[in-house]
Subunit: 593 residues, 2 copies
């Protein structure tokens, strides 16, 4: 690229600036600016402390333990992440979310605030998914959040799966309600009495409705932002079909959409498969799933599920049509409809953060980043004349216009009183995929200096002539997406072990793998495997999940659709040495969220 001379010296200086920010007195940052930044950081810290003292937010946030404090990243800036992802994953996750401006803790336990940056991710998923399902003929609607006790309890297996976690409203103002009312933990029983009413003929099928709402499951396990929360946002689709085949086709179509949300939007690889009988949806017929993997903990994570409910709910709620295949004038026997339900939640956001982010903060995949490119003026000092400054700002506005016209979400950061180094730090924390630096050098050479958030240091830095910006920036964002996905996919593949000797199973888990084993798919056997792969602690203790991850037992994650070779029917045995059954399929087991 051109202007190599102009570029070189600028590059190294600013890298230093970026790592140390204004905290370092070296480099081109004025002492005044450094003092100012330090003062601001102190004010911020003071204010946060005061708020905490009042019990606002963070009541559940992990306090740094003395052990964790020791693991603070050396030289980390005051406003940066001060624990390492490799050393204290839960502490790191919490800091990345809070300092990356994605989330805040809330004073009702298990509930969290989704700040605009994370809500934007959700809105992007909504938009993409809405487009897909509307094409399929699914329509959005809104059912009430409340459900009466009678209706909730109509399907026995189903309510057993949720009963302990249901939040009950008992009073309005100071008046006790005649009957307590539940807040939906999911909407099967909310919606299906109306399906029975609305579906009057096979001509009303398929009925396909979807809701974007929040549901409440008052879990008593340790909450974790996005992954386990008492209220969470999701979509829930509920459909009714005439035949099992039609229902089954939709189940897989939706699962594909879920896989694409992860892979094409969040740059997260997933494995598609079917849940075992033990792990399927309470009251359903079969459950399909997309399963992800968190490299730092070596644990699997359920990403989204698409259930075929069979005729179980239609029998409970009496959802029938006359059989249209019976011809002639005689009385047509009623047939129960085939139903599906499928849901994807804001858990997606937690998985994305855990996989891509690093010790400098959030790393946002470009397609879901509210700001994809930030332009920061550099090389302005106290000696810069107002005229030069304004000229540079005008040029920056022009850059923003060019990039914006190419469909990229771009902004500039011309705030006064913050040094470039402080800004670099902040936008890195917030995970903006591409940073553009623009100073007098770049202006003279008619190029910009570009840094990739996902590739720290010199490797991620380059220059782009202004004339090429409108094609180069969109291409760069795509390249970043692809690289994020490729790296995560390589990591997942490297940690998906095919195991046929039981002796290798727990060691593989301990080495942060998930394991595919030939398995009989029975519930008993899964229970044994879970027990045998535990080390010491109990699973549902009040401890943070990650603290006990190395010791927890393995659950079946899914029976992958993509089956390895090697199971000989009638010959290959189940991998569990205590099990005498034959293996049916390769089943993926892992410690999990």
């Amino acid at each position: 690229m051109s202007n190599q001379d102009t570029k070189e010296p600028t590059l190294s200086d600013r890298t230093l600036q970026s790592a140390e920010g204004d905290i370092s007195p070296e480099g081109q940052i004025s002492k005044n600016a450094a003092k100012k930044a330090a003062k601001m950081a102190k004010q911020a810290a003071d204010k946060a402390e005061k708020a905490e003292a009042k019990g606002i937010g963070q009541s559940e946030a992990k306090k740094p333990t003395s052990k964790a404090a020791k693991k603070k990243i050396e030289g980390a800036a005051l406003i940066g992440i001060d624990v390492a992802k490799e050393e204290d994953f839960p502490g790191w996750y919490q800091q990345v979310l809070i300092k990356g401006d994605m989330l805040d803790y809330y004073d009702v336990s298990g509930c969290f605030i989704l700040k605009p940056a994370s809500y934007f991710v959700w809105e992007t998923i909504q938009q993409w998914f809405n487009h897909k399902i509307k094409k399929m003929g699914v329509r959005n609607c809104a059912f009430p959040m409340f459900v009466s006790e009678d209706v909730l309890k109509r399907e026995k297996d189903h309510i057993e799966g949720f009963a302990a976690e249901v939040a009950w409203v008992t009073h309005a103002g100071s008046t006790p309600l005649e009957r307590k009312i539940a807040i939906r933990p999911t909407s099967e029983t909310v919606m299906y009495p109306y399906y029975a009413k609305w579906i009057r003929s096979h001509r009303d099928l398929p009925l396909r409705l979807n809701q974007w709402n929040s549901v409440v499951r008052w879990e008593f396990k340790h909450p974790q932002p996005f992954l386990r929360t008492r209220e969470f946002l999701w979509q829930e689709g509920h459909t009714a079909h005439l035949t099992e085949a039609a229902a089954g086709e939709e189940v897989l179509e939706i699962l594909d959409h879920y896989a694409h949300v992860y892979e094409d939007l969040l740059a997260v690889p997933v494995v598609k498969g079917r849940k075992t009988e033990k792990e399927k949806f309470a009251g359903g017929y079969y459950t399909t799933t997309v399963e992800g993997y968190i490299p730092s903990t070596g644990r699997g994570i359920q990403g989204g599920t698409s259930h075929c409910l069979g005729q179980n709910f239609s029998k409970m709620f009496n959802i029938t049509v006359e059989d249209p295949t019976v011809k002639g004038e005689e009385k047509k026997p009623p047939v129960y409809v085939w139903q599906n339900s499928w849901g994807l939640s804001t858990r997606t956001i937690g998985v994305m953060v855990m996989i891509h982010s690093d010790n400098r903060g959030l790393v946002l995949p470009p397609r879901v980043a509210e700001i994809q490119t930030i332009v920061i003026p550099v090389g302005l000092t106290a000696k810069t004349t107002e005229e030069v400054r304004q000229k540079l700002y005008a040029e920056i506005d022009n850059l923003v216009d060019i990039i914006s016209a190419s469909g990229v979400r771009v902004d500039s950061d011309k705030r006064e009183g913050y040094s470039p180094g402080w800004k670099f730090n902040e936008w890195e924390l917030r995970g903006v995929p591409v940073r553009i630096e623009f100073g007098p050098g770049e202006s003279a050479g008619q190029f910009v200096t570009v840094s990739r958030r996902d590739t720290p240091g010199k490797d991620g830095k380059t220059t782009i002539p202004i004339a090429e910006l409108s094609t180069a920036i969109p291409a760069l964002l795509d390249a970043i997406h692809n690289d994020l996905y490729r790296r995560a996919d390589e990591e997942f593949r490297a940690h998906r072990k095919l195991i046929t000797n039981w002796e290798d199973f727990t060691p593989a888990l301990n080495d942060k793998n998930v394991c595919l084993i030939p398995h009989c798919l029975t519930e008993d056997c899964e229970d044994q495997i879970k027990e045998m792969s535990k080390r010491k602690a109990e699973e549902d203790s009040g401890e943070p999940q990650d603290a006990k991850a190395p010791s927890m037992g393995a659950k079946s994650l899914c029976i992958p659709f993509d089956q390895p070779e090697g199971i000989e029917p009638g010959i290959t045995k189940c991998t569990n040495p205590q099990c005498t059954r034959l293996a049916d399929k390769w089943c993926m087991f892992g410690r999990s969220y």
Copy 2:
């Protein structure tokens, strides 16, 4: 237009068909089809009755009284609306919503199901409004639905406004919670503790967040779909500013957006103004509002409110920044931020339905109609060959492609087993703005026959050459929007009376008017006016609102921004004869929802 000859006979026949459906044996409808339709209608009615017997839906729906039953529209088809808007407005409203497929009743009192057609209206409003507020720099986010008792009660006036209606969660599963938790009735107290934490400097201002969510107000008054419901969908914007001026500017900008939602999307005229002290938001500084008018009842209705909260909440929640206007190094005094909140709810949908719909069912303004144009094959009989039928269907697919390419949401109804008359009836009930009929006659003449939903009979019927469809249909939809708006606006203007003699006040109300009067704007005087304009019943009885409308007292709706002339400062007296104060402004009073 061309093909006058081909058109004429077709027109009159189908108009008859449309009005009477298959119930009438006349016209070109086969007896067989009529029998079939009658059978389907009976099945539907039976199934609905069975569902009702089980307590599903409609538990609160108004049962036709013998009086109302007498008012049934003569000759109304079985599936159509069978009470007249002029005779039994609440019964008509309920039927229009249910038969128009907008809503269903739910088995938890005061809660309703928003079916896809009404949710589509809401999604359209969301999309439009999101676009506008994002341009202003407002960002969407999600706060929890729960709020602790302590926080809820922090602002005294505010909580007094909501306390009696707050729903309380006291149990999770069978476990009592340590402290009961409220479901938000609105989010001021949910959000502002975090504003105090997040706003650290004047550089963090303005902070502008918005949520699309549902809130719960457990009112004990008679519920009414969309207008008064215990859970409702809305958006709530919450912003913080450095100055009163900046806050005030936003209040009006948002109010303009609300007016445009009503006028440009829903074709509903509104009056912009300010609420009196008596009617302003609990705990706020001042409230601006858009006020609508329901001609059938002569009542005003609050359409959406944009509040300046002043510094009241920021003082309670201690939301401050250092005063940036103080220069130099000395300690800068803290200043409390200026806050706004503004909300628009699904009430919009109820207002729209009440104003435009008629005795044939729903009338949807084109811009919010999920289906804007429906194409129905006509002129096919039992004698039609399969070849001719398929050729006509292919031509219809082509029409749909042409119209769709011009950006119109269009569909065709090729369902077998339903006659054209039955389909006309159904799509009229559902309020689709434009119906296109296409049969062998149209095919031969290369034109389509078009009917406007908003203009029944011959006046709304015309033909359009196929070659002109791609421009004519969008133009027709705009014309329909404009006509709907114009008619509603004329109606509202005709019923906004300027009154200066108290003797004329209550008679004007009784004639279904709202009244602008010179008024002192004091709370006492408003109370007197309310009392004096009552006739007999108490306002908050358990009776349906509309039943008591003629007798209820008048409230102030707003102080319109657009003030008539005629008040002489220091001379003009308040219109209330019991009031000795001078008039301050023209104030709009009315019986209201």
